[in-house]
């Protein structure tokens, strides 16, 4: 083991900021990160074991005990649940003869749940040793587990390959793109290198002002003006970095997956243009581990671009040196938050930083850094190609251009749609062929649950902002149990635990929702939940805690009757059960469990 680990450390760069890569390789090799590895890594990198352990224990895909030779991670996000996850889970348990959370005694199969893996348009889906299996059914599970027992490779169990680059020899995945509507910006025609060559002949300042002219706002959810971000960073001195946020962790989004598959060059080109604009020499893509199946392919594209002199030294003969590397994540939603992402890229726990300073002032390695979403970089390419004005003529006043929507749930045409900002929810539902809709969850769990009475609202940053996640919830669903409870379980799991309110209230709110689902809720619980959510919003450090009460607060505000029909109209009700509370101690001391009242 020692030799193997030493060689992993050596090939990964032998530096504390490559700890993520080291741990990922160790996990892959040994199916866990054993204690022995922790001390070897610590002494090789010159950091403490506690440092290694805190990174190791933070991420979902690092484990202390070996996972199975076939490690199944079934997505338990809300949409997966809607599409029949329970049946699939049951079949896995039956076939493997173990429960979720367990490994077969022979170490062959382990079953675990995981948060949304970016396949909401083809659920239920699972990762098996980082190979994606979509649209699972009982039948398919039977075949898969039989294959495992025969010792087949996971790759050979993939029944057929998806469309486009999903079938690329370095991808070979069954994932489908499901591009339902291509627009003029991200999914339209694209000629690799054309815009880069144009940008490199422009003054970097002019590149930034073109982006400013377009009014492009960040596509990752927060909607910060991209040009302004670039301008701020370009005004800082010294070394600078460009980071592409490909963490796509918000349950229900999968549009970055499609861009990474079909527009990889465009993303890298956008990052290079950004590097030219702000004066950076290095770009980093933070790729969520769930998209590890694209890693080899993406690296091959980078190689190809290096060969074509679109990356590397003296790009296109314009005297600009710039290169891009890919940093893999290891399963943590909060790492999509920009400062947590930076921490993670530096090999640490993905714990958000205090702001200010903002990343544009002090980001990766404490150097000025711009972080943008995958789609933002793609949009920037088209803006530089066709001009800011062309872009700003599309969309609405405050939201220019087009937006990729990842639409999933109860509709006949789930998939990726590139539409101009300003479409109403009603129009969107017609577009995806959804009928009998109870609600639309806009912008994922951290967004808003919109009722039919508000379906004339617009998808735009000034009305219903979204990073792309759109989940259609049909009338047949139990909104509180299937959606709200699932979302709160997600946030409870994903809170980094740094702020006390986020750490505890996500759990408390989850328990309150559970209480209501189980029929033990009372009317004052509703106002309490809203109030506690407000406290959490005001006292949490990052966007996770600031928005994680939204599933509760937006449904209480938009579906109050539903809640009221489930809670008792009393002031107080105790769940305390005296009989249950004394049984244990009476047994321990040997006396009858009787209370004389």
């Amino acid at each position: 083991m020692e030799e193997k680990i030493k060689s992993i450390i050596k090939t990964s760069g032998n530096s504390p900021d490559r700890l993520m890569d080291i741990l990922l390789s160790v996990q892959k090799e040994f199916r866990c990160v054993p204690e022995e590895a922790v001390s070897l890594i610590a002494s090789a990198l010159g950091i403490s074991e506690a440092d290694v352990n805190q990174t190791k224990t933070f991420y979902h895909f690092f484990s202390s005990k070996p996972v199975g030779k076939y490690a199944v991670y079934l997505n338990n996000a809300a949409v997966s649940g809607m599409m029949g996850m329970a049946e699939v889970a049951d079949e896995f348990e039956k076939q493997a003869g173990i429960k979720f959370g367990e490994t077969t005694p022979d170490g062959l199969i382990s079953l675990d749940y995981t948060a949304c893996i970016g396949m909401s348009d083809q659920e239920p889906a699972a990762l098996i040793n980082s190979v994606v299996f979509t649209e699972l059914t009982r039948e398919k599970v039977k075949e898969i587990v039989a294959g495992m027992k025969e010792g087949k490779t996971v790759e050979s169990m993939v029944p057929e390959y998806g469309d486009g680059n999903n079938a690329h020899p370095l991808v070979k995945s069954m994932v489908k793109n499901n591009i339902r509507k291509a627009g003029p910006v991200c999914l339209g025609d694209y000629d690799a290198g054309k815009t880069l060559s144009k940008a490199l002949s422009m003054n970097p300042k002019d590149v930034i002002s073109e982006v400013q002219k377009s009014n492009l706002r960040g596509r990752g959810g927060a909607g910060f003006p991209t040009g302004l971000k670039w301008l701020f960073c370009s005004q800082e001195s010294g070394e600078r970095y460009v980071i592409c946020n490909a963490d796509e962790g918000e349950p229900g989004t999968f549009k970055d997956r499609v861009l990474l598959t079909e527009r990889a060059k465009m993303i890298f080109e956008g990052m290079t243009i950004a590097g030219w604009a702000i004066g950076a020499k290095e770009g980093i893509v933070y790729l969520r581990y769930e998209y590890d199946y694209l890693l080899k392919f993406l690296n091959s594209i980078l190689d190809e671009m290096r060969e074509k002199n679109m990356l590397g030294k003296n790009i296109m003969g314009k005297g600009f040196d710039y290169d891009i590397r890919i940093q893999s994540g290891a399963g943590a939603y909060v790492c999509g938050e920009e400062s947590a992402l930076i921490e993670s890229t530096e090999g640490k726990r993905g714990e958000p930083r205090n702001r200010p300073p903002f990343p544009t002032q002090s980001g990766y390695n404490e150097k000025p850094t711009i972080i943008n979403n995958v789609e933002t970089f793609c949009s920037a390419v088209k803006i530089v190609e066709k001009g800011g004005e062309w872009f700003s003529n599309m969309g609405t006043e405050e939201s220019s251009g087009t937006k990729l929507l990842s639409i999933s749930g109860d509709c006949k045409q789930p998939g990726v749609y590139e539409v101009e900002w300003g479409m109403t929810i009603k129009e969107m539902l017609d577009m995806v062929d959804a009928t009998d809709v109870q609600a639309v969850q806009v912008a994922g769990p951290s967004g808003v649950c919109v009722p039919p009475s508000q379906f004339s609202r617009k998808i735009a940053i000034e009305d219903l902002a979204t990073g792309g996640s759109m989940i259609v919830v049909g009338k047949q669903r139990d909104l509180i149990k299937d959606i709200v409870l699932n979302f709160m379980e997600f946030f409870e799991d994903e809170s980094c635990g740094s702020c006390i309110t986020c750490r505890s209230f996500n759990m408390i709110l989850r328990r309150m929702v559970e209480k209501i689902v189980e029929g033990r809720g009372i009317k004052p619980d509703l106002d309490n939940m809203v109030q506690w959510g407000e406290i959490m919003r005001n006292t949490s450090r990052c966007g996770l805690g600031q928005t994680s009460a939204n599933p509760v607060s937006t449904t209480i505000s938009n579906f109050r009757e539903l809640y009221e029909s489930k809670v008792k109209d009393v002031d107080f009700q105790s769940d305390f059960d005296m009989k249950k509370a004394i049984i244990e101690s009476c047994e321990a001391v040997g006396r009858p469990p009787v209370v004389h009242e």
């Binding site: 005296m578 004394i582 101690s585 009476c586």
Partner: protein
């Protein structure tokens, strides 16, 4: 108008909250003018002799007697206040909540380093004794609680301001320092 009547009790607490009440120093004379005490360790009245207006309780519930007393208080007091961390969240005694009761009892009566001789392995199980509950419960999980005064203990000033506000009907103005704990 007759004076408002106050009752107090310490359940699974350390009496620190009561001590804090005594820490109002000479204001205790003013307090006596403002209110009348009924069941309370302060005047040593052991059982309720009439209906009260305000019940102050420190400590959570760790056994059946605590629960009984708490329910008595709820019956006899118009307003019930959880005083201090233990009453509000279980406090220090709730440190045992993650440990099975049997383990706690074994440690206390059989295995602990301070146990001494207990050859017959006797556990306190006389019928007269209260029964330990599986967990230490905060008050509001058992009865309705109207107000909460945080702190360990809540400072004398906080207790004083809260009581005066309650009995005079004035709005409670709490300076930030009184409820800032770090």
């Amino acid at each position: 108008m007759s004076k408002p009547i106050i009752a107090t009790a310490s359940l699974a607490g350390c009496f620190g909250c009561h001590m804090s009440l005594l820490d109002i120093d000479d204001r205790i004379l003013k307090l006596i003018e403002l209110v009348e005490f009924n069941k309370s360790p302060i005047d040593d009245i052991k059982t309720f002799t009439k209906q009260c207006d305000i019940g102050l309780i420190e400590g959570g519930c760790c056994n059946t007697e605590n629960i009984e007393v708490l329910k008595e208080f709820r019956k006899h007091c118009k307003i019930l206040i959880s005083v201090g961390e233990c009453a509000i969240m279980g406090g220090l005694p709730a440190m045992r909540n993650g440990i099975p009761v049997k383990e706690c009892l074994d440690e206390a009566y059989l295995d602990g380093p301070t146990v001494g001789e207990n050859k017959e392995k006797i556990m306190p199980n006389d019928e007269e004794l209260p029964i330990i509950t599986d967990k230490v419960y905060p008050l509001h999980e058992i009865v309705k609680v109207d107000y909460y005064l945080p702190g360990c203990p809540p400072s004398a000033d906080l207790l004083w301001e809260a009581l005066v506000a309650l009995v005079t009907g004035k709005e409670l103005e709490i300076p930030y320092e009184l409820i800032k704990f770090d």
